[in-house]
């Protein structure tokens, strides 16, 4: 038995918070919350991107007693107005301000934090702009549309000391946390493989051009992405089947189940060293993301993470080790032997962060300045797996990856896909 008993980060943060509260330690509340600008001691927020997902987040934040939402921003006036109605309805006034341009919002409003729910091509530009302005960010996954963009977000978050919570809300789920704690504490013995099952993609999509709806600034919606005529998918769900804006279900769900697989393996601050696989791409219609995909990532210690759509793997994350397997998905938690699920995590073992809810965790961290349960770096490493898988499938080549320098070895063509050029005038 070891004589050394290091203090867990969780216990450390808990004590820091408690002691800080007793002493009135100034770091637990952001300056602007304490200052005259926000005498009500509430976290002043705005929502950028308030379509369906954004309004879901907005609803969550409006339900928190210590939040004051003061503005919403969207390039589609229909979304803006719906979101404004929600905010005004909550506060029983007409005070919620609306913006089309996020730059104007950030420059004008005195905010503590923003929540972002945007098409993926916008994640980095707006996330970085918010972080550089010193705003804490609740950003929907995936963290970014390219590896380079993800790293830029991480850098901005670190440089400016802001709090970032990615919308990988499974990390706040009891089952997911428990499954990961079992794996990370060695209940499976040495883990040699993890399987990740994600939804399959979709082909088709109408190419027929349509008039741009009133109230939608189509050019702004495209932002840094290549120009193309409007054909109906824009501010709605179906943009995710087009590579200029998303990597499809693969990148949409990487922030969930790949993220959980990483959390359990304890590799959410690094990445694989080799990625290899194949995708099936649609040959007609508008959409161009893979309909089916299957790739394998190998990590420095030899562990593999196999990512595939659900036609090959069951949905969720499943770890295989010397002593059996554990599988977790939104529908439940399974193991072989079943007795693994009766295991308790001892006081001296690794306890992953437990939250009072994903949005709540963000707000708590805004106050304590502690790290969120789904910080930018972990989200970056999760989506990097999806993005590197995308590159391996697009090039049809085996990718050799350095997770420290985040560079691809000896493949300029593949390396070119690590970043995404921006349409003028946008620059990250």
């Amino acid at each position: 038995m070891s004589e050394k008993r290091p203090v867990s980060r969780r216990a450390f943060l808990k004590r820091t918070t408690a002691a800080g509260a007793v002493l009135g330690f100034p770091t637990i509340i952001p300056a602007r919350v304490l200052g005259a600008e926000a005498p009500s001691n509430r976290i002043v927020m705005a929502g950028i991107g308030v379509g369906g997902m954004g309004r879901g987040d907005l609803r969550n934040f409006l339900g928190q007693g210590d939040v004051q939402v003061v503005a919403v921003c969207d390039v589609d006036s229909r979304h803006r107005e719906k979101a404004k109605a929600m905010v005004d309805g909550r506060y029983k006034n007409q005070d919620c301000r609306t913006y089309l341009d996020f730059r104007e919002l950030i420059a004008t409003e005195k905010l503590d934090a923003v929540h972002l729910a945007l098409p993926d091509q916008w994640h980095a530009l707006i996330g970085v702009a918010a972080a550089r302005a010193g705003l804490d960010v609740y950003g929907q996954k995936p963290l970014a549309r390219s590896v380079r963009e993800g790293r830029t977000i991480c850098r901005a978050v670190k440089e400016h000391g802001v709090v970032w919570q990615t919308g990988s809300q499974q990390r706040s789920g009891r089952n997911f946390r428990y499954a990961c704690e079992l794996v990370v504490n060695g209940r499976l013995g040495k883990v040699h493989k993890a399987e990740v099952g994600l939804p399959a993609g979709r082909g088709g999509g109408s190419t027929a051009p349509q008039p741009v709806p009133d109230g939608l600034d189509w050019n702004f919606w495209l932002g840094p992405a290549p120009w193309r005529p409007y054909c109906g998918f824009g501010p709605h769900w179906n943009w995710r089947w087009i590579m200029d804006y998303s990597g499809g279900q693969l990148t949409d769900w990487a922030g969930h189940h790949i993220d959980i697989a990483h959390w359990g393996l304890g590799v959410d601050r690094t990445g694989p060293v080799q990625i290899e696989g194949k995708g099936v791409y649609p040959t007609d219609g508008l959409y161009d993301v893979p309909t089916n995909y299957d790739f394998t990532c190998t990590y420095a210690n030899g562990t593999t993470v196999q990512v595939a759509d659900r036609t090959k793997h069951p949905m969720g994350a499943k770890w295989y080790g010397e002593k059996g397997w554990i599988h977790v998905d939104r529908g439940g938690l399974w193991a072989e032997p079943k007795s693994l699920l009766r295991e308790r995590i001892g006081a001296e073992e690794i306890h992953l962060k437990e939250t009072r809810g994903h949005h709540r965790d963000f707000l708590d961290c805004v106050k304590t300045r502690a790290e969120t349960v789904a910080p930018a770096e972990a989200a970056h490493r999760s989506i990097s797996v999806g993005l590197l898988g995308e590159i391996a499938m697009l090039t049809g080549r085996k990718i050799r990856w350095n997770p420290d320098t985040e560079e691809i070895h000896d493949d300029p063509g593949a390396s070119a896909l690590l970043g995404r050029p921006y349409r003028e005038p946008w620059v990250l």
Binding site: M1, R5, I29, G134, P229, Y281, D288, P421, P425
Partner: protein, 684 residues
């Protein structure tokens, strides 16, 4: 058969005709890339998808041929915008010097310039960089902005001169973009230019961003002093989040003055900057910041001392131990508590002299000092605590043993064994608790000896039990057998109780080996343990006792145990045997309830037989009704037969009218009365 054959022939002919229509390889390619030229956004992606598939996994030779074909598309004035856009997209993945001229020609095309840049920006070759650079001379407005951005993304130092000129451009947007691009490219020249702008007023807001980017690239190149100079300018000229970033940069560059800045911040009023410094210190990567502040710790305000002390603890920074210890008598209670806990992690043996007297005191300090003592590590800690565990002063001995027991270190087991013989009850109890939590096979003989010496003391038995539970089945049984040899009755009872705590075949063998010569208490313990056994291993033995014993208590206990085991095994046969051994209606009711919990037709028969017993009619009837309801869907005949028997048994049982009505209703539901008549008359 002939028809099938004819169909096959037709199919084969059709396939042959179709194959004959295939173009030769070159013709197919010509069609594919030729067709691309007329591709429109409004068309489905069949042609682009086929080209993507062609590119995927192509050999270098094949890629060269494809690139030439794609360049032709770009050079064709008649090719559509959609075709050229797609072509640029592909050249981003595979473009070389060969396609640069074709791409460069699009840089002034309002519709396609951005797509040409997509390909040129990603092309690492010098020709692509030159093409972008040359275009600066002819482009204006947003198109030029785009090229400036691309040059920044490419990070090519050859662009620095041109960008430096543009940084002074009259057009504010161009100047700002050039500054950002210079920041990304980094290097000494860029840094010099950015440094000069530090004192310019007004400065473009992009200057701050450019400095941060440039600073990072300088650090990556090992140019720490240049980076430091730039960060210093930025720190002096900025505020808020940018100043925070500049401070981090100063540390990363090894700037000694950064410590002074941190101290100034921590003693100042800017809460945001305080947060930033403390957060920086708390990060593992900010370890140097935390260490740099050690010398200043005692002079900082308590609300800063506290998180810093906790940071040192979290980082395991032993270098901070002395400075932290100096705060042990702080006037601030929170700081004192943090110090005691932190010293447990970073203090080592030298902290023991400080923490021990505090732990012997009272209040929050004592609790924290005790926690600290339980965490202390180092070679001499155990030795020092062992010495205190043998101290003449009872209070010192008590605290030392309590700490040793809580430390859960196997190295301390010999000390705890010695303390388990202490004259003081409390010390013995703490020592035994520690032994129970930590001890292994090696401690068993000593604990058995203690058990014998104490004639079966509960505390010793509990400690032995803790150890016993960690042994594997065979070792545990062997331990028991050995310890039981020649033991007194109380010791034997204490040892046999352990068997019940870890049931298994080895423990069962030990229990069964106990003869009557050890007295009625031992016999009774063994019997009761078997009655409560968690599986059916002793079932036969219990049934025999239940059937033969004249002692009613023994009969009841054995039969109840047996019935429970029949339920565990879901064995109808065992329930039947239990029924046969029943002496009282209450016992039969237990059996009926057990059968009621079993699924399937087999469990129904013995319950139906119980309907003849008036003492259990109500219980058996209720079970029959429930089972009939369950069987009615899949086995209606079985259900009807059971219900008929139940209704028949209830005839004349006035107190069971409700049960009878429910049974009749169910029977009618399964077999409606009219149908019953027909069935009876029709004989189906």
């Amino acid at each position: 058969m002939k028809r099938v054959y004819a169909a096959r022939v037709v199919t084969m002919l059709a396939v042959l005709v179709w194959m004959a229509s295939w173009p030769a390889a070159g013709q197919e390619e010509a069609d594919l890339y030729g067709q691309l030229k007329t591709y429109e956004f409004t068309q489905v992606r069949t042609v682009p998808a086929a080209i993507e598939a062609d590119i995927r996994g192509a050999t270098p030779e094949r890629l060269a041929a494809i690139e030439a074909r794609l360049a032709e598309v770009l050079e064709d004035a008649g090719a559509t915008v959609a075709a050229k856009q797609f072509t640029c997209r592909m050249l981003r993945r595979m473009g070389t010097d060969r396609s640069v001229p074709a791409l460069a020609s699009l840089l002034s095309d309002t519709n396609l310039a951005h797509m040409a840049r997509f390909a040129l920006e990603a092309n690492a070759g010098d020709a692509a960089g030159e093409a972008l650079l040359n275009s600066l001379q002819i482009l204006t407005g947003e198109l030029r902005l785009g090229v400036v951005n691309s040059l920044g993304e490419r990070r090519g130092e050859r662009a620095v001169d041109a960008l430096s000129r543009l940084a002074g451009d009259e057009d504010a947007e161009t100047a700002a973009a050039a500054l950002l691009a210079l920041g990304k490219i980094g290097g000494k020249t860029s840094a010099k230019l950015l440094g000069k702008l530090a004192n310019k007023s007004p400065r473009p807001p992009e200057w701050e961003r450019a400095c941060l980017d440039c600073g990072e690239s300088l650090l990556a190149d090992g140019q720490d002093s240049n980076a430091s100079r730039l960060y210093r300018s930025l720190y002096a000229a900025s505020a808020g989040p940018v100043r925070v970033a500049a401070l981090q940069g100063l540390f990363a560059a090894g700037e000694k003055k950064a410590v002074a800045s941190c101290i100034e911040i921590l003693n100042g009023d800017d809460a945001a900057l305080k947060q930033a410094v403390l957060r920086l210190a708390r990060d593992v990567e900010g370890r140097d910041v935390a260490l740099a502040l050690i010398g200043e710790l005692t002079g900082l305000p308590p609300e800063i001392q506290l998180p810093l002390v906790e940071t040192y603890s979290a980082l395991g920074a032993t270098a901070a131990a002395d400075a932290v210890a100096e705060l042990s008598d702080s006037t601030n209670a929170g700081v004192r508590v943090a110090v005691c806990e932190a010293l447990g992690v970073i203090g080592g043996a030298s902290a023991l002299d400080l923490l021990f007297p505090k732990a012997a005191g009272g209040g929050a300090d004592a609790e924290a000092a005790y926690v600290g003592l339980t965490r202390l590590s180092g070679e001499n800690v155990t030795k020092a605590l062992a010495a205190r565990a043998a101290d003449e002063d009872l209070a010192v001995r008590r605290l030392a043993v309590r700490v040793l027991a809580a430390r859960r270190s196997v190295a301390e087991l010999p000390v705890l064994l010695a303390a388990a013989k202490d004259a003081d009850n409390g010390i013995r109890r703490d020592a035994l608790a520690g032994l129970g939590q930590l001890g292994g096979e090696e401690q068993v003989p000593a604990l058995v000896a203690l058990l014998v010496a104490s004639d079966g003391s509960g505390d010793v038995a509990e400690a032995l039990g803790g150890v016993y539970m960690r042994l594997d089945g065979t070792d545990a049984a062997a331990t028991l057998v050995k310890a039981l040899e020649g033991s007194s009755e109380p010791v034997r009872i204490a040892l046999l109780k352990l068997a019940a705590r870890k049931p298994g075949k080895e423990a069962l063998a030990v229990l069964r080996a106990q003869g009557t010569e050890h007295g009625p208490k031992v016999e009774d313990l063994v019997f009761r343990t078997l009655c409560n056994w968690p599986d059916s291993s002793p079932a036969e033995q219990l049934l025999a006792v239940a059937a033969k014993t004249e002692d009613l208590t023994q009969h009841v206990l054995a039969l109840r145990g047996y019935i429970r085991m029949a339920g565990l095994d879901r064995s109808v046969k065992m329930f039947r045997l239990a029924l046969a051994a029943c002496r009282r209606p209450d016992e039969k009711k237990l059996v009926i309830a057990g059968l009621g919990a079993l699924k399937g037709e087999a469990a129904l028969a013995p319950v139906l037989e119980c309907l003849a017993d008036a003492d259990v009619l109500a219980e058996a009837g209720a079970v029959v009704l429930t089972k009939a309801e369950r069987l009615s869907g899949q086995q209606p005949d079985v259900a009807l037969d059971a219900l008929d028997k139940l209704i028949g048994a209830l005839d004349g049982a006035a107190e069971q009218t409700e049960l009878k009505n429910r049974a009749s209703a169910l029977r009618d539901k399964i077999r409606p009365p009219e149908l019953s008549v027909e069935l009876e008359s029709g004989g189906v």
